[in-house]
């Protein structure tokens, strides 16, 4: 798919890929062999009927293609942009053995975008209302998907969102240039048209507790999709200096609070020299945002090598093209600051990959005496997130792991507490949008089954 030139896109917040023309889409769709036993479908966490929708695009039936995708995937415009297809459906594509896999992600995006631009809204088949209320905690991908399924089953669905704007990571975490917020708004708008109620500024655990919702408020079941929004810090000296941001804070200021726009009410320090610590998608998003906010240099510091980086290879590739410097096998040891507490640099140490640890991965080991300083004015810490403790602390009888995640079957979302379900990052720890969506779907099915028996 054609993309914006790296030198240009590194300074704007527009999307990198430019989308397919109809001709490009049909040409790509016709490459699909329409395998009798398609391997791609098994690579999709929500089992999208891939050969079918690709075939519809090949025939020029774009609205039908979008509807086909929506039979199993409620948010195709989002998934088409952020799914790591290269390790999911596209990895299984038989054409990928000898050449390029069919560009399934790009085709999904094309169909979804086409429908958004041209499609008329048609109400899908909804079961008659059964008079029961189900509450969904969190309006990120898990919650949105669960809500979409539950409303079709005939429940009265309310989503409780802590922030003033719905979308979870889709709005606060993933930047505008990877996922335009307009698209997220439209997807959420679709759910509201189906009858889902959205309560914003509602923090479950404080504004009401899970037990309160199940008790006095009469909710028959609760799905917890509150995500993994508690940032990990490095625990090095100087970490609380001015200019050290968790990636969550940096991205929330920029994306949700629109600090990337000149004159926004919420400020953000636009560092000239920005160092991002971490190797996942969040680190890539942070480093690339820093560039777009005007940084002269944007550097990634990661303690292992590129092969171990969890980020999507496509995003690492985009980052490199934009001129982001990768300081691999490097780990921070301290943040340096001036007398007023403002960051002046980050002291790092070189690493080597030593003997494997219990997980089998080579453990990074510091090289004695190899400390060096990188001068910078902003440090972004993108080394991972875990679940916010609020829900587990206010729902004392729900089983949790020592990492703070809620114990739930990944296949059906059931927790240790009756009529309470969970899915997405709050169960797995930080993962992907599509996995969260799969979990939301599975939990909605379980809720339907369990409440039918009640």
């Amino acid at each position: 798919m054609r993309e914006q030139d790296p030198a240009v896109r590194g300074r704007n917040f527009n999307e990198v890929p430019l989308g397919y023309t109809e001709t490009e889409a049909q040409t790509e769709a016709r490459r699909c062999l329409q395998c009798k036993k398609p391997l791609c479908v098994g690579g999709c966490p929500v089992i999208v009927q891939i050969p079918e929708f690709v075939n519809l695009i090949a025939q020029g039936k774009y609205a039908d293609a979008a509807r086909k995708i929506k039979e199993t995937n409620a948010l195709p415009a989002i998934c088409g942009r952020v799914c790591p297809q290269e390790t999911q459906c596209e990895e299984k594509c038989i054409l990928g053995k000898k050449g390029d896999a069919v560009a399934i992600g790009n085709l999904e995006r094309f169909a979804a975008d086409w429908e958004m631009a041209h499609g008329e809204f048609t109400m899908p088949a909804l079961n008659p209302k059964n008079g029961r209320k189900v509450g969904v905690v969190g309006s990120g991908p898990a919650g949105l998907t669960a809500a979409g399924e539950l409303i079709k089953q005939g429940f009265d669905v309310t989503i409780f969102e802590a922030f003033h704007e719905a979308g979870g990571v889709l709005v606060y975490g993933i930047p505008e240039f990877r996922l335009p917020k307009d698209i997220v708004k439209k997807e959420i708008g679709y759910l509201l048209k189906l009858g889902v109620v959205l309560e914003r500024n509602f923090i479950v655990g404080r504004t009401a507790t899970v037990d309160g919702l199940l008790g006095e408020e009469g909710y028959a079941a609760i799905f917890i999709g509150a995500g993994a929004g508690l940032p990990a810090f490095m625990r090095v000296a100087g970490e609380n200096s001015i200019g050290v941001y968790s990636a969550n804070e940096y991205l929330t200021r920029s994306n949700l609070m629109k600090a990337y726009k000149e004159g926004a009410d919420t400020p953000i320090i636009r560092g000239k020299h920005v160092v991002t610590v971490g190797g996942g998608n969040v680190a890539m998003d942070s480093a690339r945002t820093a560039l777009r906010l005007g940084a002269e240099t944007s550097t990634i510091v990661y303690r292992r090598t590129e092969a171990e980086m969890p980020a999507r290879s496509a995003e690492v590739h985009h980052a490199k093209q934009e001129g982001i410097v990768f300081d691999l096998l490097t780990n921070p040891v301290a943040v340096l600051a001036d007398n007023n507490g403002f960051v002046t640099g980050i002291r790092c140490i070189r690493m080597n990959l030593g003997a494997p640890d219990e997980s089998g991965r080579k453990r990074p080991v510091p090289v004695a005496g190899s400390e060096f300083d990188i001068p910078c004015d902003v440090v972004i810490v993108a080394i991972g997130n875990s679940p916010n403790p609020l829900i587990r602390e206010t729902t004392p009888d729900i089983a949790v792991t020592k990492h703070g995640t809620i114990v739930a079957n990944e296949a059906d979302g059931r927790t240790s507490k009756k009529f309470v379900y969970a899915g997405g990052d709050i169960v797995t720890g930080a993962a992907t949008v599509i996995l969260a969506m799969g979990a939301g779907k599975a939990a909605a099915k379980s809720i339907g089954e369990d409440l039918a028996k009640k």
Binding site: F202, R206, S241, N248, T252, D265, T266, G341, N388, L390
Partner: protein
């Protein structure tokens, strides 16, 4: 959206708003706060809940106009709606029957002090209160605090009312008089809390302060409000906002408060320019 039911000006820059917020009023405990946005695309700011009535379904916020966001908030009228209001947030104050409590409020810090003092009194504590301000016209809630206190001391920097001096000086005087306390809570500007708690902690009094760092989300997801307490990083919005004064890295906390001074200045200047048509 929550409507403003009542609006009062308590002093030149300080306002008290009564806001229709039944859920927050029901769940709220002393010491907790809300996150407020006055305009679409506005900043999220934390404000302590000064008072609440669960039966009538309202909360009260007392705030001082400091920058653009509070300035815009201050021009809203009764009947207007607050765009976003989320809460109650933060850990409630730990209330117990300590014995003799020394409650100290500086400037607009008296607002959050009131509900805590109320709860301490209800728990059977003996209350000595010190409230201070730069000048007599800036003293807040004097009558309300007097009703709660067994002894009330008022102080002003310029001596226009009560004792001339700072709250810290009043504490020194009390200690010199031989007064003993089992617990102290101090709320006010960061420097005031630092200096005053220095005296109470030095005298061996268990002291709690309510910190006011910059906040963005208020729900524990960003770490912007982090402070070092007892050598560990804590988030003021979910672990606090109250902490043991003896364990706080005051230096670090106060430095972080200055992180956006230049932005704040520019933002207010631009706002004034747009509103008045004149450069600041």
């Amino acid at each position: 959206m929550p409507k403003i039911l009542k609006k009062e000006s308590l002093s030149e820059l300080v306002y008290r708003y009564r806001i229709d917020a039944p859920r927050i009023a029901r769940m709220r405990k002393a010491g907790q706060f809300v996150i407020v946005r006055a305009t679409t695309d506005g900043e999220r700011i934390p404000l302590t809940i000064a008072n609440a009535n669960a039966a009538e379904g309202w909360i009260e916020l007392i705030f001082q106009v400091a920058g653009k966001s509070t300035k815009i908030l201050s021009i809203l009228m009764v009947g207007n709606e607050i765009i976003d209001l989320a809460g109650p947030l933060g850990r409630p104050t730990h209330i117990e029957r300590f014995g003799r409590c020394l409650c100290i409020g500086g400037g607009v810090g008296v607002a959050p002090l009131y509900p805590i003092t109320y709860a301490l009194k209800a728990a059977g504590n003996e209350i000595t209160t010190i409230i201070g301000a730069r000048s007599s016209n800036l003293l807040l809630l004097e009558r309300e605090m007097k009703e709660l206190s067994d002894r009330l001391i008022v102080c002003t920097d310029d001596g226009s009312k009560g004792v001339k001096g700072f709250a810290a000086d009043c504490v020194k005087t009390l200690l010199a008089e031989g007064e003993k306390f089992d617990f102290s809570v101090i709320i006010g500007p960061a420097m005031m809390m630092r200096v005053t708690s220095g005296i109470t902690v030095g005298a061996g009094i268990k002291t709690t302060v309510s910190l006011n760092p910059i906040m963005i989300d208020g729900t524990g997801m960003c770490g912007g409000c982090r402070v070092t307490v007892g050598g560990e990083t804590r988030f003021a919005c979910v672990d606090g906002p109250e902490f043991d004064a003896a364990k706080i890295d005051w230096d670090g906390m106060i430095k972080r408060l200055n992180g956006y001074r230049s932005f704040e200045r520019t933002s207010l200047e631009k706002h004034n320019c747009i509103v008045t048509g004149r450069p600041a």
